[in-house]
C-alpha cells in the first residue's frame, strides 16, 4: 500500500474512532438537553422527534404559575443555584488559603509526624461521609451551625482540602529546591519566593486541583441534605424536588441539571490551558 494512502486511512480510522467515542461520551449530555426541552406529555416517548419547548427552563427560573395549585412541585431553583455557588466557591477559597501552605510544608519540610498528618488529611477523603454524618449533625445542631453557609463551607473542607493538599504536595515536591535557593541568593524574602516563584510554577496543578475540588463540592449531596435546610439548600438536594409525590418532572430536573452543569463546564473550559499543561509539564525535569 502506498505510504500516503496508508497514512490517510489511519487518520480516517483514528478520527472516526474519536468521533464515535466523542458521541458515546457526550450522549448523556445530549439526552439531558433533549429531555429538558420536552413537554410533560412527550416526556416518556423515546423518539427524537418532538416539539421542543423552553417551558421547563422558564418554569424553573421564573417559577411555575401552576405550582400555586399544588400539583406541580415548587422549587426555588435560582436561590438553590446561588447557594451551590456560594458554598462551593467558599469551600474552594478556604481550601486554597489553607491547603497551599499546608501542601508546601508537607513537601518541603521534615518534621515529626509529617506522614501521619498527611495521612490524616487523606483519611478525611476515604472515610465514608455516612459514617460521620450523625455525630456531625448532633454537633452542628448544638453549635448552631445547622443550616448556615459557614457550616456547609466548613464541612466541605472534608471534601476539598485533602484533594488540594495531596495534588499540590506532589507538585511542590517536583520543584527543585535549587530554584528557591537561587531566589534566596538573589535576595528575595521567603514570602516573595513563595508568591513569585513557587506559585506560578504550580499554577497548572493549582488550577486542576481547584477545579476538581470545586466539582466535588458542587456535586456533594449528603452534607447539604443532612446539615442544611432551606437557607443553604443546594441544587443537588433541591433538584430531587422535581420528583414530587404527584408526578416526576424529569424534564424540569433535566433543565435544572443543564443549568447546574454550566459553572463547571465554564470553569473547565476557562482553565483548560492549565489542565493540559498541568498534566505534562514540570518546572525541572529529571
Amino acid at each position: 500500500m502506498h505510504p500516503r494512502l496508508r497514512k490517510a486511512l489511519t487518520s480516517i480510522f483514528s478520527d472516526g474512532f474519536l468521533i464515535i467515542y466523542f458521541m458515546f461520551a457526550l450522549f448523556p449530555i445530549l439526552w439531558m438537553i433533549l429531555v429538558s426541552l420536552k413537554s410533560g406529555t412527550e416526556l416518556f416517548t423515546t423518539q427524537f422527534v418532538f416539539t421542543p419547548t423552553l417551558e421547563n427552563y422558564q418554569a424553573i427560573l421564573f417559577g411555575d404559575p401552576r405550582a400555586a395549585a399544588g400539583v406541580v412541585a415548587r422549587v426555588d431553583f435560582p436561590r438553590n443555584f446561588l447557594n451551590s455557588l456560594i458554598v462551593s466557591s467558599g469551600a474552594v477559597v478556604i481550601s486554597l488559603a489553607v491547603g497551599v501552605p499546608a501542601a508546601y510544608a508537607l513537601a518541603r519540610y521534615n518534621f515529626k509526624g509529617k506522614e501521619t498528618l498527611a495521612f490524616t488529611f487523606l483519611s478525611f477523603r476515604f472515610a465514608p461521609e455516612l459514617v460521620v454524618i450523625i455525630p456531625l449533625s448532633l454537633i452542628y445542631r448544638q453549635l448552631g451551625l445547622y443550616d448556615t453557609y459557614f457550616g456547609i463551607i466548613w464541612v466541605y473542607q472534608l471534601v476539598t482540602l485533602p484533594l488540594l493538599i495531596w495534588v499540590l504536595r506532589s507538585y511542590f515536591e517536583d520543584i527543585s529546591p535549587d530554584i528557591e535557593q537561587a531566589a534566596m541568593i538573589d535576595g528575595y524574602p521567603w514570602y516573595q519566593i513563595f508568591m513569585r516563584i513557587l506559585l506560578p510554577l504550580v499554577r497548572p496543578g493549582l488550577a486542576a486541583a481547584a477545579l476538581l475540588a470545586f466539582v466535588f463540592a458542587w456535586n456533594n449531596f449528603i452534607f447539604p441534605l443532612v446539615l442544611g435546610a432551606s437557607t443553604v439548600q443546594t441544587v443537588t438536594v433541591s433538584a430531587l424536588g422535581y420528583i414530587s409525590s404527584a408526578q416526576a418532572f424529569f424534564n424540569r430536573m433535566a433543565a435544572a441539571a443543564v443549568i447546574a452543569s454550566v459553572p463547571q463546564m465554564m470553569l473547565a473550559l476557562s482553565i483548560q490551558r492549565y489542565l493540559i499543561r498541568g498534566l505534562s509539564f514540570g518546572a525541572v525535569k529529571g
Binding site: S39, T41, R74, L225, L240, I243, S244, A246
Partner: protein, 455 residues
Amino acid sequence: MKHKLVLLLIVVVSVLALGVGVTAAQDEFNWRAYEGTTLHLLLNQHPYQQALVGELDKFTELTGIEVTYDVFPEQNYFDKVTIDLSAGAASTYDVFMTGAYMIWQYAPAGWMEPLEPYINDPSKTNPDYDWEDIFADLRNSEAWNLEAGRENLGQGSQYAIPWGFEANAFMYRQDLFEKHNLSVPQSLDELVSVAEALHAAEPEMAGIVVRGSLNWATIHPGFMTMYASQGCVDYDENMIPQMNSPCAVEVTSKWTDMVRNAGPEAWTTYTWYQAGSDFGAGKAGILFDADILAYFQNQPDTAAPEVLGNIAWAPGPLGPDGALRTNIWIWSLAMNSGSQNKDAAWYFLQWATGKEFLTTGAVDYSMVNPVRASIWENPDFQAKMAEQTNYLETFNTIMANDAKIQFTPQPLFFETTTEWAQALQDIYAGADAQTRLDELVDSLTLQLQDAGVIE
C-alpha cells in the same frame, strides 16, 4: 316567703349567669395564647405541603405564632426525619410530616409526642376542632400501644394526626375496556384474566402496572389490598409470619404470574413514579395503586392526549367471601417529643388538621383524599372530584367497607416488608412460590425473635 322567692330568684339568675359566663369562655378559645413563639416544620415535598405553605400566613395571622419550614424531596425525606428526631432535645423541628407506618419505628424510640392529652383537653383544643369528623379508621390507624400485634392498632396513644390519605383502588382506561369489551374484575382470578386479555388486545402496552422495586412500598398498595381482601394476613395473633399460608401462596403466585404475563418489562424497578407515569403516558391499561396517583396523572400537563379524561376508578377486586379490605397510606402530622414549644406546636397541629384549612386544601389545592368526612360532603369538593370518572363512588364503596392499615404493627416493619418484596421479585424471576415464601417466613421469624417480638 317573699324573701325566700327573691333569694331563689337571685340564686337561679346567678347560676344561669355563671353558666352563660362559662359557655362564653369556652366559645372564646384563646388562639393567641402563644403569640410570639416561633415553630419549625419539617415537610416533605408534596401537594399537601404546598397547600399548607400557601395558607400558612393565615395561621400566623390567627395565632401570632411565627412558622418557618424546611422542605425536602421525598426520596430522602425520611432519612432527614430520622436523623433529626434522633437528636432529641437538640433537634430543630417541632412538627413533621410522617406516614402512619413510620409510627411503628419512631414511637417506640420515644421520638413522637402522644397527642391524646392535647386532643382531650378543652383548654388546649378549640371547640370547633371536631376530632370525630376525621374518619375513625384513619384515627385508629395512628393510635398504638407500642405492642406488636394486629389487635394493638387503635389502642394506646395517638401518635399522629391524619392529614391526607390514599386508598388503593383499581384504575383503568375506560376507552380500552369498552373497545375490547372488558369489565371491571370482581375477583383475583378475574383481575389476572382481565389484565392478560388487555395485554393480548393491546400488545404494545402493559395490561397492568403495579409497583415491583426492592422496597417495602412494593407490598403496601395493590398487592396488600388484594392479599387482605382475599382473606390472608401478614402475621397471626402470636406474631408468626403467615406469608406462606395457602391463601398467601395463592395470591402471591397469581399476582407474580399476572405481572410476568401482562405487566411492564422492567417490573422489578417499578416504584410509584414508574407505575404512575406509565399509566399517564398510555403505556399501561390498568393501575392498581393509590387512587390519588391516577388523579395526579389525569391532568392536562401530564396525561397523554389519549389518556386524559379516559381514566376511571373502581374498588379493588373482592375476596372469595365477597370482602373488600383496602390498605391505605396516611400522610400525617406529628409532634417531635424533643420540641421545646409543645403547646404552640399543638396549636399548629389543630389548625393544620382542622376543618377550615383542610377544606381549603381540598377545594382550592390538591389535598386529596381529605381525611374529614365533612369535606366529602362539601358540594365544591364533590363538584371538583365529579370530573374524575367514578372517583367519588369508588371512594364511598371503599370507605363503607374495611379501609384501614391492613398490616400488623411491629417495629421491624420496613426491614421485614422489604424482604417480602424481595421474595416477590424472586418468585417473579422463577423461584417456586411455596419454597421461597417458606424461606421468607423462616427468615422473618428469626428476625422477630432476635428483636424480642416473638419468643
